[in-house]
Amino acid sequence: MTETEGALVESRHLDHMVVGFVAALRDAGLTVPVGSTIVFRRSLELVGVDRSLAVYWAGRATLVTCPEDLDVFDAVFDAYWQHRDQPGEQPEPEIEHLTIALDDGADDGEGGEVADEPDVVLRWSPAEVLREKDFALCSNDELEEAQRLMMRMRFATRLRPSHRHEPARHDRGRDDLRRTVREALRTEGEPMRRATTVKRQQPRRLVLLLDVSGSMESYARALLRFIHAAVVARRRVEAFALGTRLTRLTKELSSHDPDQAFRQATGAVVDWSGGTRLGAVLTDFNDQWGVRGMARGAVVVVLSDGWDRGDPGVLGEQMARLHRVAHRVVWVNPLKSTPGYAPLAGGMAAALPHVDEFIEGHNLASLEQLAAVVAA
C-alpha cells in the first residue's frame, strides 16, 4: 500500500482525534474497550469526518451500548467536537448536561482518572433547618427546595476493578488490534497509551428500589426526587418502583430535567399509591433482574416502610436471595425515626436479618447519611 505523505498525516490526525475522544468518554465515566475504539476508527473511514453529524452517529453506533449512556456521550461529543450539526428530530441536549457530566472529571484534577474520585462529596446550601424536617411535614415549596438540594448531592461508591469482557474466540479483530495499537504508539499516541495501560475501574452498580405503595405516600415523591438525583449524578445506577407490580424507572429518570424525569417516572408507574405486594414484587425483581445479574456485586437500596399485606416469609426469602448476590443491602425506612416505631411489623422483621444497614429516610439529613452509607 502506498500512502502519500499527506494521507499519512491525515490518518495520524484521525488516530489522535479518535483516541482523544475515547479518552474523554472514559473520563466522563463510559466504558469503552479498545476493540470498540478500533471499530470507531474504521467507521470514520467509511462515513468521513467532514460532517460532525456523521462522526456523531458513527460514534453512537460503535462506542455506546445502552441508551442510559447517551446523555454523557452527547455532552462529551459536544465538548470535544465543539458544535454538532442540528440532528434532524432530536432536540439539542441542554448545556447543563455538559456541566454535570464533566463535573466529575474536572474535580479529579490533572489526568483525572475515575479512580481518584473521592468516596463521597456532599455540597449543601445553608438551609440547615430544612435538612432536619420530615418530608411528610414539608410544604410544597419546601419539598421543591429540598429537591434542589438533592440535585447538588453527589454520590459515589467505592471503586472495584472491572472485568472487561473479551470475546471468547480470537478473530481477525485481534491482529488489527495489535497493529493499530502499535501504529498509534509510533505516532506519539500519548492518549492511546493511556487508554490501554491504565487499569480501568468501575464503581459498583447502585440499585434503588422504591416502594410506591399507599403507605409510603408521604415519602415516595421526595424519595423519587432523591433517586433521580442519584441516577443523573452517578453512573451505573438502576431504579425501580415497587407497588403491586414492578416498574423499571432507570430510563424515565435519566432525563436531567428533574420535573420531566419526575413526570415520566410517575407516569410510568401505573400503581402509584396503590396496594403492596412487597414480597411478590421483590420476587419479580430478583427473577427478572436482580439475581440474574443486576444485583450481583451491587449496592442495593430498598426504600420502604416494610409494610406488606402478603406472607412475610416470601419477603424474607427474597431478601435472603438478594443479600446472597449483592455486595451490600441497605434498607431505608422513613418510619424508623417515628417515636415508638419498632420494626416488628411482619415484613420489616422478616427482611431485617438480610439487611446490612438499616437507616432512616424521612428528611434530607438522613438521605445525606444514605449517600454516605452507599459510598462506604
Binding site: 453512537r60 453506533a61 455506546v64 445502552c66 447517551l70 469482557h165 427478572q288
Partner: protein, 304 residues
C-alpha cells in the same frame, strides 16, 4: 444491490431503505451502513413497535438475500436454533440396513458415519444462515434476543465472532460470505455487554411526528392525509402518558387504516372512542387514556 466492492454512503443506504418502504433516520442508516461494510451484526434495541424487526425484513427485500428468522424465547436451545439430528430417520435407516442384511457386512464405524452424514442433519436458522451456499448472503434476523438466556447469548457471541459453526460429528461449517445479521431486543433484560460490543448498536426511538406521518402514509392505503396527521399527533400524545404498553408505529398504522376503512374524513372523539382498541391494546391503558381525557388529546391532534 450488486456491487459489493463499492462502498455505499449513508445517504444511499437511506434511499435504498426508503425505496423498500422503510423510513430511517440518519442514525439508523449509519448503523446499517457500518454493519454492512464492516460485516458485523447490527443490534437494534428499543421499545416494542418502533420498527426493529422491519429493518431486517427491509434489508432482505433490498439485498435480495433470503430472510432467515430466529424468534427467540425462554429456554431456546441449540436443537431449535442451530441444528438437530433427525433421529427418526436415522433409526429408520438403521432398521433398513439390518433388514436388508447390509448391516452384517458393514462395520459399525461405516454405519455410524452414514448415520451422521449431512442427509440426516436438520439445519435450524443459525446453521442455515452460515451454510447458505453461494449467491447473495441471507439476512439472519435474531429476533427478541432478550427473551433467550445467557447461555444462548454466549453461543451467539461465539458464532458471530467467526461466522462459523461446529457440528462435532461432521466438522466445521463456515460461511463463504458472512450473512447480514440483525439482532433485536425489546430490552426486557440487558443483553450481555460482550455481545453488544460485537455488534453495531442502535437505540431505536419512536419516530418524530413528520417521519411517523410519512411512515403511516406509506404503509396504509386510501387513508386521507388529514387522518394520518391526526393519528400520528394523537399517538405521539399517548406515548407521553406513561402507558404500560405505549403504542408503536404498528399501532399507528392499524389505527389509521381502520379509520380509513370506516370512511372517516377526520378524527373526532366518538370515532376515537370507538376505535381506541386498535391503538391502545391493554384495558388498563385505555382507562388511563380516558382518565387523561381522550377529548383533549383528539382536540390537540386536530390542531396538528
Amino acid at each position: 444491490m450488486t456491487e459489493q466492492a463499492v462502498s455505499r454512503t449513508v445517504a444511499e443506504v437511506r434511499c435504498a431503505l426508503e425505496e423498500h418502504d422503510y423510513l430511517a433516520d440518519e442514525g439508523l442508516a449509519t448503523a446499517v451502513l457500518l454493519a454492512l461494510e464492516l460485516q458485523r451484526p447490527l443490534l437494534l434495541e428499543g421499545e416494542p413497535g418502533v420498527g426493529k424487526t422491519e429493518v431486517a425484513k427491509t434489508l432482505a427485500r433490498w439485498t435480495g438475500g433470503e430472510l432467515i428468522r430466529l424468534q427467540c424465547y425462554e429456554g431456546i436451545d441449540i436443537g431449535q436454533a442451530v441444528y438437530e439430528w433427525d433421529y427418526s430417520r436415522q433409526l429408520l435407516h438403521l432398521r433398513t440396513a439390518e433388514a436388508t442384511g447390509d448391516a452384517a457386512g458393514v462395520d459399525a464405524e461405516t454405519l455410524e458415519n452414514e448415520l451422521y452424514s449431512p442427509r440426516f442433519l436438520v439445519k435450524r436458522p443459525l446453521l442455515q444462515a452460515i451454510d447458505h451456499g453461494d449467491g447473495q448472503p441471507p439476512v439472519l434476523l435474531i429476533d427478541e434476543v432478550d427473551r433467550a438466556d445467557d447461555e444462548f447469548e454466549a453461543y451467539l457471541l461465539e458464532m458471530l465472532s467467526e461466522y462459523a459453526i461446529s457440528v462435532p460429528e461432521l466438522g466445521r461449517f463456515e460461511a463463504p460470505v458472512p450473512p447480514i445479521v440483525v439482532i433485536t431486543s425489546n430490552r426486557t433484560r440487558d443483553v450481555h455487554d460482550a455481545l453488544k460490543r460485537r455488534c453495531l448498536y442502535h437505540w431505536v426511538e419512536h419516530p418524530g411526528l413528520e417521519r411517523e406521518i410519512a411512515i403511516i402514509a406509506r404503509r396504509t392505503t386510501e387513508v386521507p392525509d388529514r387522518i394520518i396527521r391526526q393519528v400520528a399527533a394523537a399517538v405521539g400524545q399517548f406515548r407521553t402518558l406513561g402507558l404500560y404498553k405505549p403504542p408503536g408505529v404498528a399501532e399507528s398504522i392499524d389505527w389509521a387504516q381502520s379509520l380509513g376503512r370506516l370512511g372517516a374524513a377526520a378524527l373526532d372523539s366518538t370515532l376515537a372512542e370507538a376505535t381506541l382498541g386498535t391503538v391502545i391494546k391493554y384495558r388498563e391503558d385505555q382507562e388511563r387514556v380516558r382518565e387523561h381525557g381522550l377529548d383533549t388529546i383528539v382536540e390537540q391532534a386536530l390542531r396538528a
